[in-house]
Amino acid sequence: MYTPDDSPLTEADRELIERFRHDYAPPPRAPGHRLALHDALQARLQRRWIPTWTPIAAAACAAALALWFVLPERWTNPPPPTSAAGDVLAAYALESDVAGELDDLLPQDYARIEDIFEL
């Protein structure tokens, strides 16, 4: 694993770093900046604390409430299944179709099923 001792800085590396330090630095701050930051910070801390997510949560609640009133009742309260739906299901599989199908299985059949599905 790399350690600084394994890879010491060359003169060129030092020069590069020095160049960054010198040429990639912010301009000197105006004297007013220090005071401005201090004052702004103090003003923010004295303000009554409101979490940043409060406005978002309030807007989301308002939107949800508006949707509740705007959407038709059938959207918010789905109707119970009708007898027509039951008829459709019955057309695909009658209860009598599957009745007794599992009655004839023997214990070895269950064992085979377990083997097949690795139960």
Partner: protein
């Protein structure tokens, strides 16, 4: 002016801690702004905002601050996170609102610099580094934190910091080779 601790009541820290905190702000704001400036890529106003936000969050979290770690380490960790957050939002904004780029004001320091092209090259090279590499390079080589401090501030293992630092320097060395005269490694040099 009414002390903050009295205004905010029981939720806040003691007056003593408040005074200590503002002394801390005084002592560290230059470095905090400079570090934010380098981490987010040379935007003075944004750097001021990031530093202020970091101080604000640090003050808010003073109650959760464990005295067993150093206040500076804890604060600079917050600052690094704020800078990351700023970069993420800026990347998102730039991706979806490219028109904002046209409105963006150029870095006034770049034009005031004796060699604006060099400054842009340095900024570009640093910006193209992976996030972790850029952060360790700025913290260790430009801000002068030790490897251990950097590891604590970034929440990384010491070995990770070392390897990222090594890679960052190698990439910058290659990319900016024409900016200086590379010399071969000298045995026995110091880090």
């Amino acid at each position: 002016m009414e002390p903050i601790a009295q205004v905010l009541g029981a939720r806040t820290v003691s007056l003593d801690r408040e005074q200590r905190f503002f002394a801390f702000v005084e002592a560290h704001q230059e470095r905090a702004v400079r570090m934010a400036w380098r981490l987010i890529g040379g935007d003075q106003d944004a750097a001021e905002d990031v530093a202020q936000q970091a101080f604000f969050k640090a003050y808010r979290g003073l109650d959760r601050f464990r005295e067993d770690s150093k206040l500076t380490t804890w604060f600079y960790r917050i600052l690094v996170n704020e800078a990351r957050s700023h970069r993420r939002w800026r990347a998102l904004r730039d991706r979806w609102h490219t028109v904002w780029d046209e409105d963006a004001t150029p870095d006034p320091a770049a034009s005031a610099h004796p060699d604006p092209a060099l400054r842009r090259r340095l900024a570009g090279a640093l910006d193209r580094l992976a996030r972790g590499q850029r952060e360790v390079f700025v913290l260790v080589y430009l801000e002068g934190f030790t490897l251990e401090q950097t590891a604590a501030q970034l929440g990384k293992a010491l070995g990770t910091v070392k390897s990222q630092l090594h890679r960052a320097l190698r990439i910058l060395r290659e990319e900016l080779a024409d900016c200086y005269q590379p010399t071969p490694h000298k045995a026995g040099g110091t880090s």
